[in-house]
């Protein structure tokens, strides 16, 4: 065997065995009654009614930039902003939903991952996935403020209040946190309720996935009657020409999928969506961690072995065993 082949074989074995470690746990499955939202960028007109409603529901002040006091000018998520509408523009920026010389709007808020990174990395279980609804909630009483959730979130969603000496993490909890509980009361999220065009649509993940798939079968240029509010019993309908969708439902599979799904006519990477494989990073991380620390068996065995060796080695040199 040539040296190079040997190295390759050894390496492949090493990588292979290391990878098989992560197979220990597949991606999590969607919660049985997962609720979510479908954001259709081709319907969004950038009115930011959802941003305003979100602040009202969650009791957060508007972010003011310069003299533009009539508008909330939050540019990104922060401790004061759980939902924001961002503008994509290119070149002349005069054609809606076109990648070149076009513009469109994109919603940024918690995607409520099926296999959430924030929940996986949090050392103190301050972030939890609801077993039924799949909503990712935050529990301030446990939080130590290490901000690993921000680092472990593919979308940089959990936001720490950096300007507050006694701050906490803030994130969208689907308007279902204690004291708000809109979902438990049979209501929908604030942003979906406020949206005039149905760009943000509320519903269960399954229903929204069906609706999203239906939209992808429509012919661009045809008229479609878009539901507004709750996909199950819409408040109103909104007729609009179908845009040339990207044949891709964001959140169906990305890193295990999300409960908030996105549709767009402009490619998602242009809208700042991250490059995600189908396998969740959380599942890989937990696979490694559980292989090494399952029932603390490996560390315990190592401790016994080490104690024996150290004891033998220090016993030989009595009187010198000072460390």
């Amino acid at each position: 065997m040539k040296r190079r082949d040997f190295l390759k074989a050894t390496g492949a074995t090493l990588l292979g065995s290391a990878s098989s470690v992560a197979q220990a746990r597949p991606n999590l499955e969607p919660a049985p009654e997962a609720v979510g939202m479908l954001f259709d960028s081709t319907l969004c007109v950038g009115c930011k009614a959802c941003v305003s409603k979100c602040k009202e529901v969650n009791g957060m002040p508007p972010v003011i930039e310069g003299d533009a006091v009539q508008y909330d000018s939050a540019r990104d998520l922060s401790g004061d902003t759980l939902n924001v509408i961002k503008l994509y523009q290119n070149g002349q920026a005069n054609q809606k939903d076109q990648e070149v010389d076009g513009f469109c709007f994109e919603k940024r808020s918690c995607m409520h991952c099926v296999d959430p990174g924030c929940v996986s990395v949090c050392p103190v279980t301050a972030l939890r996935r609801h077993p039924k609804t799949g909503i990712i909630s935050y529990h301030v009483d446990a939080c130590i403020g290490c901000r690993n959730c921000t680092m472990g979130c593919p979308y940089n969603v959990p936001q720490f209040e950096y300007d507050n000496p006694f701050g906490q993490i803030r994130k969208c909890e689907m308007c279902n946190q204690a004291g708000v509980e809109r979902i438990d009361q049979g209501q929908m999220t604030g942003c979906a309720e406020a949206c005039p065009t149905g760009a943000t649509l509320f519903g269960t993940r399954n229903e929204l996935l069906i609706e999203a798939k239906r939209r992808l079968t429509l012919k661009p240029g045809d008229i479609y009657n878009y539901p507004c509010g709750d996909v199950n019993h819409p408040d109103s309908w909104h007729e609009q020409e179908v845009a040339a969708y990207q044949p891709h439902i964001w959140g169906e599979k990305e890193a295990g999928g999300t409960n908030v799904l996105h549709l767009s006519a402009v490619p998602f990477d242009k809208l700042g969506m991250p490059p995600l494989p189908e396998r969740s990073y959380a599942s890989i991380s937990e696979g490694v961690q559980h292989t090494l620390y399952s029932y603390l068996a490996l560390p315990a065995a190592a401790l016994v072995g080490l104690s024996y060796v150290v004891h033998r080695n220090t016993r030989d040199s009595e009187g010198d065993s000072d460390e």
Partner: protein, 382 residues
């Protein structure tokens, strides 16, 4: 009888005063952080949640404090008693490095007053790498203090306590080898969950813990060489080069394994093109690799290995390599997506420099007051 003694000498020297001033400035800004919040002192933002406090003070600081760990493996596991004279110096540096790493983690915690939550069993998330790091580092700081306590017993003349501790010390020594193995590898595992944000050349996924552990060990051996050389020249003691060159041999083995794994991963995952792209990431990678390869070349030569100057050069290069590897992975090439950037503010940097100054300051005072460094002339242990 002890083979160690205090070096003595004046405590209030110019270096001590300078270090105290630097530490004072750092503490001032640290005070501001507690009054006005993290945002007032740091440049942390919505996507860069970890800055130099976490990356330098905790991730790199504790790796640089692996001297006690590396030497404990050599002396107590591999039974090379001749290295025993270096033990207390290394242990002292490890204790300070880890204690200040713990302090760094604490002050960076956004909700520091609630830190105890991590010790409450009903809060623990056993999927979390951070939980392992938090618990394990805390436990190791305790173990380091116990391992260090014979120094204090010697100073106080508490022979009985010392004898009692000696009977069970082997357990703490074993823990002192196990715990760093666990959390130093976990510090690498922290990168896995960050996924695509970690640049491909540093995102080795399943291999993160192994690469982190190997580099932490080489950094541990290097810091022992570095500190011993520095202490010898600062206090005008005769050199311990023959001893140190043996540690150099250990570094050769570890470095070889590390480099083979690192490059095989890059080749098998088809990332070789990124190495030669000559963009910022590629240049950082090449610089980092050069710093890893230099000590390997130096230490492979038996003549250079026995030369104090070359040995120190190799150790320094190795320390920089391990430091850059961590900076690159966690900070320099970290890319959480468009719209965010991070560069530490001056006050933020001053806090980190202040903590380093404090560490050196306390080390200088300790070796003067306490029996930490080996007795001059004869250092043969029985």
């Amino acid at each position: 009888m002890s083979n160690y003694q205090p070096t003595g000498g004046r405590l209030l020297t110019l270096p001590v005063v300078l270090l105290a001033v630097i530490a004072g400035i750092g503490l001032y800004y640290l005070g501001l952080r507690f009054v006005h919040g993290l945002g007032a002192v740091t440049q942390l933002n919505g996507a860069h949640a970890w800055g130099i406090w976490v990356v330098y003070d905790v991730v790199i600081g504790t790796a640089l404090a692996c001297g006690g760990y590396a030497l404990a493996i050599t002396v107590y596991v591999l039974n090379k008693g001749q290295y025993h004279p270096l033990m207390r110096g290394a242990l002292t540096a490890s204790l300070f490095g880890y204690a200040l790493g713990g302090l760094g983690a604490f002050v960076d915690m956004g909700r520091w007053w609630a830190f105890y939550n991590i010790f409450l069993p009903w809060n623990m998330n056993f999927n979390s790498v951070m939980l392992e790091v938090g618990l394990c580092v805390s436990a190791y700081i305790l173990v380091l203090f116990i391992e260090f306590s014979p120094v204090l017993f010697d100073k106080m003349g508490a022979q009985k306590l010392r004898n009692a501790l000696n009977k069970v010390l082997f357990l703490f020594i074993a823990l002192g080898v196990l715990l760093p193995t666990m959390h130093q590898s976990s510090l690498g595992s922290l990168l896995i969950a960050m996924g695509y944000k970690v640049a491909p050349l540093w995102q080795s996924l399943h291999l993160q813990p192994l690469l982190a552990l190997l580099t932490a060990l080489t950094m541990g051996f290097s810091i022992v060489i570095f500190e011993a050389s520095l202490v010898n020249s600062a206090f005008r003691r005769h050199e311990e080069t023959p001893l140190l060159s043996g540690l150099g041999k250990a570094i050769v083995g570890l470095l070889t394994v590390y480099l083979v794994i690192r490059f095989v991963e890059i080749i098998l995952r088809d990332k070789l093109g990124l190495v030669l792209a000559f963009d910022m990431n590629s240049v950082l990678f090449l610089l980092e690799t050069a710093l890893f390869v230099l000590p390997l070349i130096v230490l492979l030569s038996p003549a250079k290995r026995r030369n104090g100057r070359w040995l120190l050069t190799a150790a320094l290069s190795m320390l920089l390599a391990g430091t850059l590897y961590r900076f690159n992975a966690f900070l320099f090439t970290f890319n959480p997506g468009p719209g965010y950037s991070y560069f530490p503010s001056a006050p933020e940097v001053m806090v980190t420099i202040g903590i380093i100054a404090l560490e050196i300051l306390v080390y200088l005072l300790f070796v003067k007051i306490l029996p930490i460094l080996p007795v001059e002339e004869k250092q043969q242990s029985h």
